[in-house]
């Protein structure tokens, strides 16, 4: 994913001379090194100075450049959060903040380097657009869309390679979810790199006769209000899947929409408000609640919480035969 990002930046650099890239001594990790080699005059290595880099990006944007700011996700959104707020988001400046090594993907470095609430921080910041792409193609599209958009964007990337999910023809649009799989019984909504696991869970559930709709929602802000409302109305139960604390990210965004439109049972798959540890990435995702089996379990639970909503004809027949409870559970 980061290699795709690095190559896309070079592409953009060739197209737009106003694009500048800032990094904090992690250019080989974030892959901005490619841009730096091709455009040394437009590449600024700030050493280990996240706060300074973020404000310098605001200064560059204020005079008409388009800075892409790069560091690890936890540093971009916590160490430099106040710089992002005061200088970038408050002013609506055209800075693209790229949080590399998102979620647990800096797995062996442990909890100090993992980023499990960056989306919550950025989503709650007025004026910020928040994206967590799911695969390489979408990363490329989202980075290009961010460059074309005039305003602050936070884009979270995964350290590791992730399976390709989308083919040519896939479209990335701010505020729009993608329907990956149609279904009637409940809806799984996923952001970021767990899309592959979520599709696998939906396939396993289908073998049990549970028909899941899968919405892939890489844009957390603005959130696709209509897709969530519609999923609630048409399927009646939802599960969110994210590589993030279950507080403040996708689960919260979906709950906010449900509360304001058409409430329905919602289960949130993610990290249960705790810090993880060092280890193999896939193992950590499993251990901290984001396994395929965990998604399936949450789906069954959401389905079980679905209130029985008999159709008018059934209602009449029940009134005659005596009520029978819970048949949809």
């Amino acid at each position: 994913m980061r290699e795709t990002y690095g190559r896309t930046l070079v592409e953009l650099g060739r197209e737009n001379p106003d694009i500048v890239v800032l990094d904090c001594d992690v250019a080989h990790s974030t892959k901005t090194v490619h841009f730096g080699r091709e455009f040394p005059d437009r590449f600024f290595n700030f050493g280990i100075q996240e706060a300074n880099m973020m404000d310098a990006a605001a200064g560059l944007a204020s005079v008409g450049l388009v800075p892409f700011v790069n560091t690890f996700a936890f540093l971009a959104t916590l160490r430099a959060a106040e710089q992002v707020r005061t200088s970038i988001a408050y002013n609506g400046l055209n800075v693209k903040i790229i949080g590399s090594y998102g979620g647990l993907s800096d797995s062996y470095d442990g909890a100090s380097h993992q980023s499990v609430f960056d989306l919550a921080v950025m989503r709650s910041m007025p004026g910020m657009t928040v994206i967590a792409p799911s695969d390489n193609l979408e990363t490329r599209l989202a980075v290009r869309a961010a460059a074309a958009f005039d305003g602050p964007v936070y884009l979270r990337l995964c350290r590791n390679e992730v399976p390709d999910l989308f083919g040519e023809g896939h479209i990335f649009e701010f505020g729009k979810a993608n329907l990956v799989r149609e279904g009637r019984d409940l809806t799984l909504i996923v952001t970021g790199i767990l899309a592959g696991r979520t599709v696998r869970a939906a396939e396993a559930l289908a073998r049990e006769g549970i028909d899941c709709r899968v919405l892939q929602m890489s844009c957390l802000k603005p959130v696709d209000w209509e897709a969530i409302r519609k999923a609630s109305e048409e399927t009646g139960a939802l599960v969110t899947v994210e590589e993030h604390n279950i507080i403040g990210g996708l689960g919260s965004a979906v709950a906010e929409v449900l509360g304001a439109t058409r409430p329905a049972p919602l289960e949130r798959v993610g990290i249960a408000d705790r810090y993880a540890e060092s280890g193999d990435y896939e193992q950590l995702l499993d251990k901290y609640g984001m396994s395929v089996a965990g998604i399936e379990k949450a789906a069954r639970k959401a389905l079980g919480r679905k209130p029985s909503r008999p159709r008018p004809a059934e209602k009449a027949s029940r009134a005659r035969n005596g009520a029978k409870q819970g048949e949809t559970g």
């Binding site: 005059d41 600024f44 560059l60």
Partner: protein, 261 residues
């Protein structure tokens, strides 16, 4: 305006009055008819609490209507407690939270170079503000890039919110610190408008890299009972204090300087 608002920072506004005067009425290239002109010089008021001094200058330069000053800090007024670029013409960047300005200024100065523009970037720093470590990150980075189009001006009034800077968090030897970060250091009496104009011209003309001007100033300058007192960092005057202060400042204006705008 601070008296009317009953809120705002008098001490740190008075200490920069002559510096702001030198910038807005002599040194900064700007076009009041086109406040967003890309070729204008930039001012980053890193010590954003001196907003009243900036607003006074902007109104005298015709960028904001004088009557707006009466509504400083009031709901619906463009004049925020700290400078906001989105609402006030002539404010180049929003500030207020301390420690950001030098980094922003260095970004602007790098931007000027990339855009092949010859505008100059001034950053107005408080001395207490230098406690923030980010200034020293920015100092390192500006020297790395040899930004001769960047001038930092330190309002060295020696007083921060809780007391004298040398008690709260000692800054000295301040000039040596900047030299150690590979900046050229110039000093000036920050209340002598002509001297400030001259040092700024020198900083612009002779710069081989970033230049810092340490301006010796007096917090609350011109009002005897406010001078050098941290108690006047953020407190508004009563009517009686206001009238006494005006009388003292009017007396000082007899010298004919354009200060105390």
């Amino acid at each position: 305006m601070i008296f009317k608002a009953q809120s705002g920072h008098l001490g740190g506004s008075l200490s920069v009055a002559e510096i702001v005067t030198a910038l807005y009425f002599s040194e900064m290239r700007l076009d009041p008819a086109d406040p967003d002109w890309p070729g204008r010089d930039r001012l980053v008021p890193s010590k954003g609490h001196c907003a009243p001094a900036l607003y006074a200058a902007l109104s005298l330069r015709g960028l904001i209507a004088p009557e707006t000053l009466d509504d400083l800090r009031q709901t619906g007024c463009i004049l925020q407690g700290h400078p906001c670029m989105k609402s006030v013409p002539g404010i180049d960047i929003s500030t207020g939270s301390l420690g950001h300005g030098l980094s922003i200024g260095l970004g602007m100065a790098l931007g000027a170079r990339l855009k092949k523009q010859d505008f100059h970037v001034y950053v107005l720093l408080g001395d207490g503000e230098l406690d923030e470590g980010q200034n020293w990150e920015a100092a390192m980075a500006a020297a790395k890039h040899g930004l001769s189009n960047l001038t930092a001006i330190i309002d060295r009034n020696g007083v921060q919110l809780d007391g004298p800077t040398e008690e709260v968090m000692p800054l000295e030897p301040l000039a040596d610190k900047w030299r150690a970060f590979n900046w050229d250091v110039m000093k000036v009496d920050g209340h002598d408008v002509q001297a400030v104009v001259e040092v700024l011209r020198r900083a612009r003309a002779e710069a081989r890299g970033p230049v810092v001007v340490i301006a010796d100033t007096v917090k609350g300058k011109g009002v005897s009972f406010m001078e050098n007192s941290h108690l006047w960092h953020g407190r508004p005057p009563t009517r009686e204090e206001f009238e006494r202060a005006l009388a003292e400042l009017d007396g000082a204006d007899g010298a004919g300087e354009a200060g105390h705008a």
